[in-house]
Every structure is written in C-alpha cells, then in structure tokens.
C-alpha cells in the first residue's frame, strides 16, 4: 500500500473535521463558534486544493454565516483574506472596517500592512510589519517582511527574515514550513542560483509531501533550468488535480520553448478561455494574467493595455504599473510606456524582470543610454533573467 502524503493526510483531517461539524453547525440556533470554524475549514480545504470553484462556494457559505451571526471579527477576517486573495482590495478595506474589533487586532493590522504593500506604500507596510513583529515575532509577519525586502532588492535581509520565520515554526506546522522553504528557494531562483533553489524545494517536499504547490514551484524551476520535458510532465500532473489557467498558460509556454507550437496553442486557448470566463463573471483576479498573456503570449499590445488598465484601476503598484508599461510598449505607445515604467521604478523595487522591461522600453523610447544601464542591473540581479518563469 502506498504511503499517504502529508497533503492527503491533511485533506483527510479537514474532511473529517467538516463532517463532524456539519450536522451541529446547521442546527438551530446557530452555534457561532462551530459555524465559524466550519466555514474556516471549508476555506482551508479550498485553499489547500487550490480550487477556485470551491473557494466561490466558500464565499457563499461565508456570506450566509455573516448574515446569521453578524459582523464577527473572525468571519470578516476570513472575508478580508478571501477578498485579498481575489484582488478585491476595496472590499478588504471595507471588511477591516466592518469586522467587530478587527481593524486594530494583530490580524487586522497585518492585513492593513499588506494593503499598504499592494498600494506601493512600502514604508508604511514595513513599519506595520516591524511593529507587529516587535510585539510578537510570528512566522507569517516575518515572512511578509521578508517578501517586502525581497521585492526591494534586499535578498540577504529577506533570507534572514525567512530564517527567523522558520525558527518560529514547529513540527506541527510543516506545511507553513514548506511554504517558507519555497520562498527561500524563490530568492535563489530570482538570482539565477538554480541549484540552491532546487535544494530548498527538495526540503519543502520532504517537510510536507505531496503538495501541488511544491510541484508547481519545482516545475517552474525545471523550466528555468531548460529541462522542459520534465517541467511539462510535472505541470501535466498538477493540472489533473488543480486545473488553474495560469498553469495551463505555463504549460503552453513550456511547449513553446520545446518547439511544439500546436501543443502550446492548445493550452494557451484553454488558459485564455478560462481567464476570459472569469472576467465575464465579474471576477477581477485574472486581470493581471490577462495583461501578461496578451503581452507575452499573443504580443497583442492593445488587448494587453486594456487588461492592464483594468488591473491598475484596482491596485496601483510597481507590479501593475510594470505590466501596463510593458503592454504600452508592445502597443507602440513608447512615451506613456516610459512614464509608466518610471513610476514603477520610483517605487524602489529592485527586480530583474522589472529592470529588463525598463531597459527595453528605454532603449525603444529614449536613446540616452539608460536602457543599457537597466539591462545591466537586471543581469546583475539575475544573470538568467531571460529563462523560463511563470506568472505568479
């Protein structure tokens, strides 16, 4: 008999907990604690499986629980997290205001700092994280601060924070530990140190076996290493269980790298259909992917600009600005592309992909030599920045 993976064991544990609670939670009068716990378990289940359809059902259940129980802080904290995951930042702000005593709780303040980060207010975000860590050095806030440092180019500082985060994690939190290991791997990946990234990803897999997230990071790394066959094989396995369009797009890009355009196109079409269907349902969380897809896959600047503008209307930060600038560049709107990439650069973010895009835009729009400088800066961070990467 095959040994069950940690992922399977956890899913089973959540399933059992849901079964035990489901009968109790539905009896009247509603037991607020059980009902809250049940909706959290459903959220954990959906998150763990990466199932967006299930997440949508969780949202329905969550809203029903809020109607029954009222604006409990725990429920609105979950709602805020769900809205955050789906890029609905205005809703997150409302959630923080509505949830009873949520805004000033430690959890609420973490979310506020995340919002600041998304809004490009890095100093406020850093201050928020650091204050929370000074009060209690929780692993998740240390990981948040690490990510901010990583984005600002402080790889060593990010690594230190991730190590501190790991130091707070116990044997009872192996999935979280695996996740932090993946982030440490990403630091190496984004600096072009593939072997080191590989080692971190292996540890993540040892720590929490059978997790598709680890497989997905590994597949990206295999692609970056030029092992397209292996990457494709892994992505195909992931997609069987987690059929998300961004993975389908990645698979298409890998087939493209392998020189199999027909296979690539088939996956591109699936991804695009799913992205567009999501947008048609009024969802906003794939706007960023649509902008990237039209830029990088279709090289259709006009469509890319359309989706990038939609995304930037929700959240104006270095990431959405860079996506718009790149789309404008592809659309031949060099002047606006230049202004937009300048705004992205002014955020202080130091990222090889951003510098590559800035360099390319500058070279097209302005012959002052800055383009070469940005390309040099990109290569300095990651000499392999041209290699395969996913749109995460």
């Amino acid at each position: 008999m095959t040994k069950r993976t940690d992922y399977e064991i956890e899913l089973d544990r959540i399933d059992r907990a849901i079964s035990e609670l489901e009968q109790d939670a539905s009896t009247l009068p509603i037991d607020a604690e059980k009902a809250t716990k049940l909706v959290y378990l459903h959220y954990q289940h959906a998150s763990l499986r990466g199932d967006l359809a299930e997440l949508a059902r969780v949202e329905t259940a969550l809203n029903a629980a809020i109607r029954e129980i009222g604006p409990a802080g725990d429920l609105y904290f979950l709602k805020a997290n769900l809205d955050f995951k789906l890029h609905r930042l205005t809703a997150v702000r409302q959630d923080l205001e509505t949830g009873r005593d949520l805004k000033n709780s430690a959890q609420g303040r973490s979310l506020q700092a995340d919002l600041d980060f998304q809004d490009g207010k890095f100093q406020e975000a850093r201050s928020g994280y650091e204050t929370l860590i000074a009060e209690e050095p929780t692993w998740d806030n240390l990981a948040r601060l690490a990510y901010l440092k990583f984005k600002l180019g402080d790889f060593a500082g990010a690594e230190r924070c991730y190590i501190e985060a790991e130091n707070e994690l116990t044997a009872k939190q192996m999935r979280h530990y695996a996740w932090v290991e993946l982030q440490r791997g990403v630091l190496h990946l984004r600096s072009g140190a593939y072997e080191k990234a590989w080692n971190r990803y292996r540890i993540a897999d040892l720590a929490y076996s059978g997790y598709w997230v680890v497989s997905e990071y590994t597949a990206e790394l295999l692609g970056a290493m030029g092992k397209f066959d292996q990457a494709i094989e892994l992505y195909r396995k992931i997609i069987v269980h987690v059929g998300r369009p961004e993975f389908q797009q990645a698979l298409g890009e890998l087939y493209h790298c392998l020189g199999q355009p027909e296979q690539a196109e088939a996956w591109y079409e699936k991804a695009l259909s799913a992205y567009l269907e999501s947008a048609q349902r009024g969802e906003v969380h794939y706007y960023h992917h649509l902008a990237d897809f039209y830029s990088d896959v279709r090289q259709d600047g006009v469509q890319a600009v359309k989706w990038a503008r939609s995304d930037i209307a929700l959240r104006r930060n270095f990431s959405t600005l860079a996506a718009l600038a790149w789309a404008l560049y592809l659309a031949g709107e060099f002047s606006e592309a230049l202004n937009t990439i300048d705004e992205a650069l002014s955020s202080g973010v130091a990222d090889a992909q951003l510098f590559f895009q800035a360099g390319t835009i500058y070279q097209a729009a302005n012959g002052n030599g800055k383009g070469s400088e940005y390309l040099r800066m990109a290569a300095e961070i990651n000499p392999h920045y041209h290699d395969f990467h996913t749109h995460r």
């Binding site: 959290y40 802080g73 904290f77 980060f117 998740d140 939190q173 992917h289």
Partner: protein, 524 residues
Amino acid sequence: MADHNDPNAVNSIFSDIDVSAADLYDLFGFPSRDTEKGEHVVIALTFASVPSAGVLDPDMLYRIRMVAEPRVVPPAAGDHSLQALLRYFEALKDKYLGPLKTSEIRVNVDSSNNATIRFINFPGSTFVKTLKTNEEVVIDAPNGSAIKAYIGGRDDAFFNDLTGFFRSINYAPQFYHVPHTMTEARELKIPKTLLELEGNDLFNYDPKFPEWGYHGVKKDLPSGPLTWTGNAFRKDANGNYRFVYSGIDCQAGKNVNAIILEIPLKFITTAPNENRIVNTWGESWVLKAANKVETIPDHPFWLEHPLALTDAFRLDDELKRYKLVDTDGQPFADAALSEREDSRQMGANNFWLAPHFIKRLAHLGWGFGPSISALGLETSFDHDNSPVSVHKTYALVTEAFPRVRKTLFQKLNMADSTWNPKGIDIPLRRPLEIFVPNVCAIDMDTTGTWPFGRRLEDQVATRFLSMFLDMEAEFKGKKYHIELLNDQSLWDHAPIEPKTPPNPLKNDKDFLQDFPYLAEPWQR
C-alpha cells in the same frame, strides 16, 4: 492567481492542533513516605493527553529540572519594604541565573511510543535509558540508585472548579464564543470577585442555563459593551450573596499524560542532609519544523544505541532543535498571576516578572479583598474598606506595593502541625517566597503539602485564595490558615449561596497509596 505574498496565515487562526501536547497542567512534588532505603522525592509532571491518554507526542520533549539546596533565607524579619523585597528577588536571580547548575531529566518518545529518559548533570551520573510507556519501571542508575519511573496515561490529579475561577476573573472565553481576532476580550474590565456583582449579566449564574460555562457550553458574545457599571455585590431575597464558585470538579473524568518519578535524594544531591529543599519545575518543548525535516526518514540509530547519544550530542545543541512552549512550577503562577499570556511562561526564570507579580497581585486583591470583607472575614489586602470589588490596574509597582504589603509578607498559617512531622524549626512560607521563582520547592522535612511542595490531595486552588485572608485574624478561636476556605463549617454560617467550599475537596478518583500514586486513567 495572486502576484502578492500569501503566507496562508489565515489557516492558523483555527489551530491545526486544538489541544497541544505542550500544554503542561501541573507539577506535583513531595517526599515519599517510604524511607526504608533512604529519602526519596516524588515528582509528577502532568500534561494534555494528546494524541491520547497513554500515547505521547513524538514531537515533544519534556524536561523536569531540579536543584537541591538549603532553605532560602527570606528577607529580614520586620523589613517589609519594597526595596527589601526587590533586593531579595535580585539575590535569587543571581543565584538561579548565575553559577547554579540544575540537574534535569529529559523525556521524549519515538513513533512507537517507547520513551527515552535522560538523566543529565546529576552528581556523578549522566545516563540514558529507554523504557516502555504505561508501565512502572525501576531504573538502576550508575551510582547504584534505584529510580522509579512511569511515563504514560493517568487520571487527571487536579480537581477544581475551573469555571468558578474563570467566573471570578471574568474570563470571557470560558463563557462566550470570543472571536480569535478579539484578543482584548479575554479578562474583561470588570472587577475580579468571589461574589457575584449586582447586574453583572455577562458572568452571573444563569438559573435558566445552569450548564453555562461548563463542559464547553458557551453563549455568543453580546454586541453591547463588555463592561459592568454597578456598585454592589448581588444579594438574593434572603440577603445572601451568590458565590461565583460551585464546588464542581471540572476535571472529573479527564485523563492526562504524565511523567512520574520517585528519586532517591542522594541521587539529586551529594549532601542530602544539608540540601533539604528540592526545587523543581517542568518544561515542554516542541520540535522545530526545520529539525523535523532532518528526522525524515526516521533515523533509528540513537534509539537503538541511546548511550551513544550522550557522547555524540552536545545537549545544549539538542535544545536548540526545540522551542520552549510551556513551563510549570507553582500552581496558579501562570493562570492567576501572569494573565495566561504565553510570553510570560517563563518558568523558574520569572524574576523579571517580580514587579509585574506585585502589580497583578494588587489587581486581584481589589477584586478578592472586598469579597472577603463582605463575607465578614478579614483580608490581608488593603482596599480602604471598599464595599464592593473594584477593577483597578497599576502602572507603577510603587503604587501597588503598599496595598499588597501584608499579602506578600504574611506567613501562611497551616491548618495543623501534620505538615511538619519531625516538629523541627521550619519557617512558614510567605507568598513572596512561593511564587518567585516559579518552582515547586519541596521541603524534605515536611510532608510536602503546599506550599512546602505539592501533594496530590492538596486543594491548591482554594489554598491560593487564602493568600488574601489576614493570617493574623481568628475564626472560632483559631488563626486563619490555608485550609480555612475548605472548611464547610465556615460556609454553613456565611451569608452566601451555594454554601460550599469554592472547589471540590477531593479528586474524582482515589489516589494510590504507592507509586505511581496518580489513579489509573479513565477507560474510553
């Protein structure tokens, strides 16, 4: 889907593990009555029965630390100043954190529930044994000492009205579904009290809902203000107060996991005739995630060759692999005096908490002192004859100290002389000596009854409350003592309902006369 950081913290709000094996419950310690082969000390550390009674969590490491020494000389008699008290704490700190070296016992289990027990830094003996759980065993130490050990499931030896205690401190999570995000809604800003407060609907006994607060039965947190605005204790039609306690044993029928040891005193100290106090405390440590990875796949070597372990490992390095979660020395040192904050789970090294201890004691005193006075008893706490409990906190220890001076310095009278069977000159203990440091200080010349240790049959929850009684006052011609509130005759004549001692007087299962002393676990 998300191009932002997502540490999945939301998944942590309802913990993956509801009850942690790291949750230490109690530390018992007393001299064994069997002295045929020399003096022995019994130490029992109990903790949550997770994953189940008799099955221990292999990710945990339990430590029982101990050091034997002569009786500590308390501050000079008559000098009851704050300065003298802080000097005393400072001297203790230097002693505990300085050259003093503790011996310790470490226990963990493997995935087959076999235990490894390591005796470290005992005089002339550091050694390792593997043993089966849930069995009494005798361990032969290299110096010829025979140590009795039991590691496994037992009945929970603690017996108290936990709900009553939580009602007395207005601890909302015992009675309400308090959202995890509402960290301020724990001890509500309502006076602590032994008697119900008039109009304190948030916590007063609800006759229509008698199970409320027991067995996990809770209400939804009301949306209104979580405060109290009254100015009197509640009285019924007969003029009786309502006790916040019921005397119900909330631990009845519950199991624990336990490490129980009976150790020759000569194994702990080379000078057993001089070092009459065995200070002991327990700690729980959980394996860090990074070190869990190192153990995948399981490496059986050190379990098969445990003696090699002590040579191969530097033990301090071992502890770096774990994270300290909980400590236990004195009952109520954490629950009552440290506001149940994890960051204050400092164990024996709680010297830095001494000023906090004084302020917290004053805060409790403003609640319990007026309650005691209302019952017609004398209190050690100076509450300016307040007719009702008061919610008061202190920022400055200098303001708090005058209120609790007597509480801190008064000697806690014992009920009779049975605690001192040898009849030798042993000073009565005082609260300041009991709680800092947070250790169980077992006096080998006594029976080990609290506060000279802690025996299984001690009703420590009620004895804790007796600190707030004025030990110079008399009841029925006898000085107040630590068992007074356990005396049914006191309650029979008190203007209160129900007429019961606050906590049960005995455990739900009889303790055993011999090792391992704690009763067999309940069968499920």
